[in-house]
C-alpha cells in the first residue's frame, strides 16, 4: 500500500467525519460531495475508472444537487433554536471521533492471519462486456428502479399540486 492510498483513505474518512459532525446542513452536503470525490479518486487508483466516473458525476454531482435543493426548500432554524441546538449537539456527537479512533486502532492492530478472499479467478474482464452480456438482468432491474423512482416523484408532486389547488 502506497502513501498516497493511505493519505486518500484518511482524507476520505476526515471528509466523512466532517459531514457527520458539522452543524450546517449545507456544509454537510458539501462534505458528502467531497467524500464522493475522494472515493472516486480511490476508485481510479484501484483500476475502476468507469465506476469512478459514475461516482464523481452522479454521487458528487447529482445527489449533491438533490440535497441542496431539499435544504433550500426547507426553512432554516431561528437563531434562538440554533443556539439551543448547538449546546446539545456537541454532547451527542462527541463520542463519534472517540469510537472511530478506538475502533480503527483495534482493527488496524488486529492480527492478519487469514485469507478473506477467494484465490484466483483473475480474468481481466472488461466492464462493458460484463454489464451487457453477463449482468444483463441487472440492467432490467436498473430500468425498473429508475421508472419506480420517476413514478414515485410524479405521484408525490401530483398529490401536492391537487392539495394546493383545493386550498
Amino acid at each position: 500500500m502506497t502513501t498516497i492510498d493511505l493519505l486518500l483513505l484518511f482524507l476520505m474518512m476526515s471528509a466523512a467525519m466532517w459531514t457527520v459532525m458539522t452543524p450546517g446542513l449545507l456544509y454537510s452536503a458539501i462534505g458528502l460531495a467531497l467524500t464522493s470525490a475522494i472515493l472516486s479518486v480511490i476508485m481510479f487508483q484501484l483500476n475502476a475508472p468507469l465506476a469512478a466516473v459514475f461516482e464523481l458525476s452522479v454521487c458528487a454531482g447529482l445527489i449533491t444537487v438533490v440535497f441542496v435543493a431539499a435544504i433550500s426548500l426547507t426553512k432554516p432554524m431561528s437563531k434562538q433554536q440554533e443556539a439551543q441546538h448547538a449546546k446539545t449537539r456537541l454532547k451527542r456527537y462527541l463520542a463519534l471521533p472517540v469510537i472511530v479512533v478506538v475502533l480503527g486502532w483495534m482493527l488496524w492492530s488486529a492480527p492478519l492471519n487469514f485469507d478473506f478472499l477467494p484465490r484466483g479467478i483473475a480474468s481481466g474482464d472488461e466492464v462493458r462486456q460484463v454489464l451487457w452480456n453477463t449482468r444483463r438482468f441487472d440492467l432490467i432491474g436498473q430500468i425498473i428502479v429508475i421508472l419506480t423512482g420517476v413514478f414515485g416523484i410524479v405521484v408525490l408532486f401530483k398529490n401536492r399540486g391537487k392539495e394546493e389547488a383545493e386550498k
Binding site: 454537510s28 475502476a48 468507469l50 463520542a95 474482464d125
Partner: protein, 106 residues
Amino acid sequence: MSIEMSQQIWAYGVFAVLLFVAAAYCILVSKNLIRILIGLELFTKAVTLLLVAAAFASGRTGLGQSVIITLIVVEVVVIAVAAGIVIGQYKHTQSISAKELQDLKG
C-alpha cells in the same frame, strides 16, 4: 494472494468499517431527516469502497464496476424519492424532524 495485497485489502476494509460506523452513528443520533439521508449516503459509500477493494483483489474489476454502477443507480433513486418525501413532510408539518413522523394517515 500475497501478504502485501492482503494488507492493502485489510486497510480498505478497516476504513470501510469506520465509514459504516460513522454513518450508523449519524443515522442513530440525528433527528433531522436530511441528515439521516446523508447518513444513508455514507452507508453506500462504505459498501462501494469495500466492493471496489474486493474487485481489485480478486482481479475481477469488470464485474465489480458493473455491480457498483447498479448500486449507484439504486442509490440515486432512493435519495431522490426520499428527498421528495422529506419535502412533502415539510410541507405537511413545517418541520424536518424525525420526531414529527409519528402520525400515519389512513
